[in-house]
Amino acid sequence: MLTKLIKHEFRATGRIMLPLYLVLLATAAGANFATRRMGDLGVLLVLIFALMILAVCVVSVVLMVQRFRQNLLGDEGYLMLTLPVSIHQHLWAKMMVSAVWFAARLLAMLAALLLLVWRPGNLEQISFAAQNVPLRLRDLRELQTLMLELLVLGFVACCTFCLQFYAAMAAGYSFSSHKAGWSVLFFFLFGTATSILTSLLEFDIEFERSGLAQVHQAMWIIIAGTAAVGAIHYLITAWFLKRRLNLA
């Protein structure tokens, strides 16, 4: 059932995100062309490109919030929450799809920036640089490990980011009126509680190793800390959806 939920979530969100990414790439290509050939108009297109970057960032967050609110806490919740699917599956489907769109946003922005600054002859320069970087096998393995850790951290951070909004909305929408207002209040309340809790738990870590090993150790501590914050918000969200659901 989780895969089916994910499929439908991609279908619902993809119809907005994919065209947006395509417009971003097209704007980058247009800005590239215009800066090389059209003088002042190029500046205008670069400005539009910057606005598009901003729009992509804002829309992906708004969509994540809106999908949760409308699909589970709004009228659509009458259908979604009576599917033969558990609350946990709903939450994981929403989190995983949002994480994928956040990752896609990063890739689309990188691709767009590359498109913007691309000049003829760049390919030869990249190929020359790649052949002349002195990369040893050990360095490559370290780089792979670091990339993997960054990937895990990215996924955990995305999920925790979504869960902070989900928990606030799940709590806020359990009230009969002023649901949005309560949600905003809970968002700041949970945020403040998390800050206080993490500052209380601050402790000095003595690293046993040095150099890159220390970096890996620090990465896993950050991942564990972020996951713990996410887990608390997950439990709050699941509890409110199971025990205090109050559809309009």
Binding site: K4, E76, T82, P84
Partner: protein, 231 residues
């Protein structure tokens, strides 16, 4: 085994009792009218059966299961609001139901869409209010569920469609399934009901066979309702 069983069921909203000590049992093969004035607890009872609310007291079981994913697989619920995603087409909604419900009968749904002249390629948001409600009802009635919970199924449709819906409910008759219809339009549904449940202030005021009720009281269910709940 009853398809719906409530024992000492209670639900409080703050200090207000929406349901209190409700005992009710619905056997398979029955079409039951859940009747009562506004605020009598009809929608609350249906929401509790679907797991959209948690009881404050007592318990409720659907086909022997506590509300949850397993119970939801056995029941087909029509909410009083439009709950389908409006950006989807009717055809995409059939795909959606087919994905999640093993008992969904796509051919029956397609036939009903054709009968009512609804275009499967049209988006829900482009349809009229009545057409949207028809699509939602078609999806719900196209499942081979054990319990159908219909909250105001004929409230927003024209009299001709109303007749079609009622004939669909009868045509869908399955000796293993029960239909619970919550409505204010008693005169319209009375002819298809086997049993009537009168709810008043969260309690069962009356639960009886419709034929026995007519014989005993010498009036229709609609007339009895007007007499019992006279303001």
């Amino acid at each position: 085994m009853p398809v719906l069983e409530c024992t000492g069921l209670g639900k409080k909203y703050g200090r207000v009792n929406a349901l209190e000590g409700l005992d009710l049992s619905i056997e398979p093969g029955r079409i039951v009218g859940l009747l009562g004035p506004n605020g009598s607890g009809k929608t609350t009872l249906i929401k509790l059966a679907c797991g959209l609310l948690t009881p404050s007291a007592g318990q409720i079981r659907v086909c022997g299961q506590a509300p949850g994913p397993k119970a939801c697989a056995q029941l087909s619920y029509l909410p009083e609001r439009m709950a389908v995603q409006s950006w989807m087409t009717a055809g995409q909604l059939l795909d959606f139901y087919q994905d999640f419900y093993a008992d969904f009968r796509r051919d029956a749904a397609q036939q009903m869409l054709a009968d009512l002249g609804l275009d499967p390629k049209k988006k829900i948001q482009q349809m009229s209010k009545g057409s949207r409600e028809k699509v939602q009802l078609i999806l719900v009635m196209s499942r081979a569920a054990k319990l159908y919970l219909l909250d105001e199924p004929i409230g927003g449709v024209d009299p001709a469609t109303r007749d079609y819906i009622l004939s669909t409910i009868i045509g869908n008759y399955n000796p293993e399934a029960a239909v619970l219809i919550s409505t204010h339009l008693i005169a319209d549904v009375e002819k298809i009901l086997d049993e009537a449940v009168f709810l008043k202030e969260g309690r069962v005021l009356l639960h009886s066979e419709v034929d026995a009720l007519r014989e005993e009281k010498g009036m229709s269910v609609d007339e009895l309702f007007r007499e019992v709940f006279r303001c």
